[in-house]
Amino acid sequence: MKRLLAHPSLAIGLSATCIFALLGLVSLVWTPFPITEIDIGRRFLAPTAEHWLGTDNLGRDMVSLLMSGTLTSFSVALLAVVIGVGVGVPLGLAAVAWGGWVEWLVLRLSDFVFAFPAVIVAILITTLVGPGAINAIVAIGIFNIPVFARVARGGALSIATLDFVAAARLAGLSNARIALRHLLPNIMSLIIVQGTIQMSLGILSEAGLSYIGLGTQPPETSLGLMLRDAQSLFLIHPLLSIIPGLCIVAIVIALNIAGDGLRDAIDPRLRQGPRNVLA
């Protein structure tokens, strides 16, 4: 843990991410004002002592919206990453452990999914079952699957050529056990790093999907939805767009910095350094 925090970018990125995540989590139990409470009388308020960031076109408190929206963005992106890891990593490992036609199938499948951006998948789902946060999760999750499958396969390929995998085969271990016991632990760091990067991409995608009306639906809120509500009022009340916009930018930057730091800290391929020279 000490070694991880020795990387300044990781410490900064991780703590900024944690602050946003905490902000979102707090909204589950407490927000300054309930976000469903509409009060036209106090709409378009500038920042005051009571409403720190003012109120929106329906008189809802911006701080409360922001907290709740951050939670939605985080949970959508996180669940999408869980779907991606849960399906993609086993596929990638299977491709390496079995090889042959399994590998061919996994690669073609991921090529196929890669061909459709998340938006297209989201439109498809929306036409089938209607819009909603769940659909955004599924759409982004499907988009994440081939990414993780490729990362897992790439990492596992280089591990699979090492002698200890051959030793495990000699010891009579099945392909599945080799994948689970030897390949997975050795590519874990790659997957964690990719996970943070996909988190930030997921938050962007969620904002994008909500912005075009395919993601989160009112009365729930998300950062993308706040942007959508504020877009027609940008010239009159710019703060309503700028605040959620800056919030998205800050979260994405924090996650990217944390991802880069994590890569520096735990990716074994970047950590070899002096070992080769001393040998």
Binding site: F164, A166, A167, L170, G172, L173, G273, P274, V277
Partner: protein, 519 residues
């Protein structure tokens, strides 16, 4: 005044002192060898001289060339390196740019460093000097063999007509015959150009062959230095004596064992690899193993020797069940198989010890977990017996069972190879296939590992199939030798007979390429 003068050189990684206050001098035309085990700091010394130390290393001390201290700015140092110091590295594949033709890489070195030379005239001359043909210059690195790549590297190092050539283990990635040729080439060029040579190696015989003076490094210090005949012939320091003793393979327990009934019979084994040409059509298959027949008797030590790429590792993989033969079959204890279809009941009887002790253990598992893996093959084994079996295997290779809870990175190369042997022994096999069991190890621990193998053979009545290109090791260990070339067995016999009267051309070349014994 010496050409190169190093005084009080210290290299540190943080608090760790890797090179501890060493003094070196190199006169023009002199050939100095630095020998030592891995981690003794010999490579770091060379890198410190050229100011190419890795990040995190700091250097102190004085280094002067022709009496002038080396410049401190990176730019001036780069000019100096280009003009006066040539370097040849250990692994020529990674030292050459894969996207540039050899000619262009040599021309680049000429254009960067010689104002009045013309690359068009000099490049062919350099190629000829290192024994390459003109057509090789038009190729890329991957189209050359290991020896040719190393020759190309030497041509690049010579391009600027340096005064000093630094060669860091230039032949340890090459096979025996190529090694001998490259060593002679280096000696010949140094003599012709009156160039000083700093030759870094852990191979005492190579150093004895190439150098006139030698420095022995141990734990970052130079423990002994002097002329080759003095230091290697009559060593003063205890450490040097131990190194020299270790470089001779006197396997003490070696004696003739009685050879029993055939244990393994290989019958007409052939392995083709499909190659695809540019149109994705099936091309002519590459035949790695070509109609090989041999038998190993119970309790025998059979050695398979041959140059790299002759198919010996493929053969071993088929025997242990990691690869499947295209034609032919293997018979083990009466049961016939073709490779991967090796019956599960037989798998525990055949074990493989890998060449590289660093990649043969999963870094994320404890040694105990890795060692216990082959016990899955024993279906009748009670879980409660596992620790006892592991302790038995680890004690057999001379290590402490308490080490089972540690992780692979906590062990040295020699210890890891012992543990790899322990893993191979844990199922109490009958046949042990050893793929270059000591070639990745330091000279100083090779003897120990071979002694261990000889002792285990006597103790458990094991049968060995040793795959190697190291004739000295084979001569010390084997009862019978097979020589393999391009997938075929070309000669067979007792080691003493084969090495004194080689019949086949390849065997003659191999025997001739042996470096002479020390002293």
């Amino acid at each position: 005044m010496s050409l190169l003068d190093v005084r009080d050189l210290v290299v540190r990684f943080g608090d760790v002192v890797a090179v501890n206050s060493i003094d070196l001098t190199l006169d023009s035309g002199e050939r100095l060898g630095i020998i030592g085990e891995s981690g003794s700091g010999k490579t770091l010394t060379a890198l410190a001289i050229t100011d190419l130390l890795p990040e995190g290393a700091t250097r102190a001390g004085r280094i002067s060339i022709d009496g002038a201290p080396t410049p401190t700015t990176e730019r001036a140092m780069a000019r100096l390196r280009g003009k006066r110091i040539g370097m040849v590295f250990q692994e020529p594949m990674t030292a050459l740019n894969p996207l540039m033709r050899i000619n262009d890489q040599i021309a680049e070195a000429i254009n960067l460093n010689c104002l009045h030379a013309s690359a068009q005239i000099d490049t062919p001359q350099l190629l000829a000097e290192v024994g390459l043909e003109q057509k090789h210059g038009d190729r890329y690195a991957h189209q050359l063999s290991g020896g040719q790549r190393q020759r190309a590297m030497i041509a690049m190092a010579l391009a600027s007509q340096p005064d000093i050539l630094i060669a860091d283990e230039p032949t340890s990635a090459l096979d025996l015959i190529t090694q001998r040729k490259v060593l002679s080439l280096i000696v010949e060029i140094c003599a012709r150009r009156r160039m000083a040579l700093l030759f870094i190696s852990h191979d005492l015989k190579a150093v004895a062959q190439v150098c006139s003076r030698v420095a022995v490094m141990h734990k970052g210090r130079i423990v002994e230095t002097g002329s080759v005949s003095n230091v290697l012939g009559a060593p003063k320091e205890d450490y040097t004596r131990r190194l020299i003793a270790a470089s001779r393979f006197d396997v003490s327990t070696h004696q003739q064992h009685s050879v029993g009934a055939p244990l393994l019979e290989v019958e007409g084994l052939t392995r083709d690899y499909r190659q695809r040409n540019a149109f994705l059509l099936a091309g002519k298959p590459l035949r790695a193993v070509d109609n090989v027949h041999f038998t190993i008797g119970t309790g025998e030590v059979l050695a398979l020797v041959g140059p790299s790429g002759c198919g010996k590792t493929t053969l071993a993989k088929i025997i242990v069940g990691l690869d499947t033969a295209t034609a032919g079959s293997v018979r083990f204890a009466g049961q016939s198989y073709r490779g991967r279809d090796l019956p599960k009941a037989l798998r525990r009887d055949i074990s493989l010890v890998f060449q590289d002790p660093f990649s043969s253990f999963d870094p994320r598992l404890t040694i105990g977990n890795s060692l216990a893996e082959p016990l899955h093959l024993e279906t009748g084994l009670d879980r409660a017996q596992t620790p006892a079996r592991l302790a038995e295997a680890v004690s057999a290779v001379g290590l402490d069972p308490a080490m089972l809870d540690r992780y692979p990175h906590e062990f040295s190369g020699g210890q890891r190879q012992r543990l790899a042997i322990a893993r191979a022994l844990v199922t109490r096999p009958r046949l042990l296939v050893l793929d270059e069991p000591v070639s990745a190890l330091d000279v100083s621990v090779r003897g120990e590992v071979l002694d261990l193998l000889a002792r285990l053979r006597a103790q458990f009545g094991l049968t060995y199939l040793i795959i190697s290109h190291d004739l000295d090791m084979v001569a010390a260990m084997a009862d019978r030798v097979l020589v393999m070339q391009a997938g075929k067995i070309v000669e067979e016999g007792r080691p003493s007979a084969i090495f004194s009267q080689p019949q086949h051309q390849l065997t003659q070349d191999l025997v001739a390429a042996r470096l002479p014994e020390l002293g």
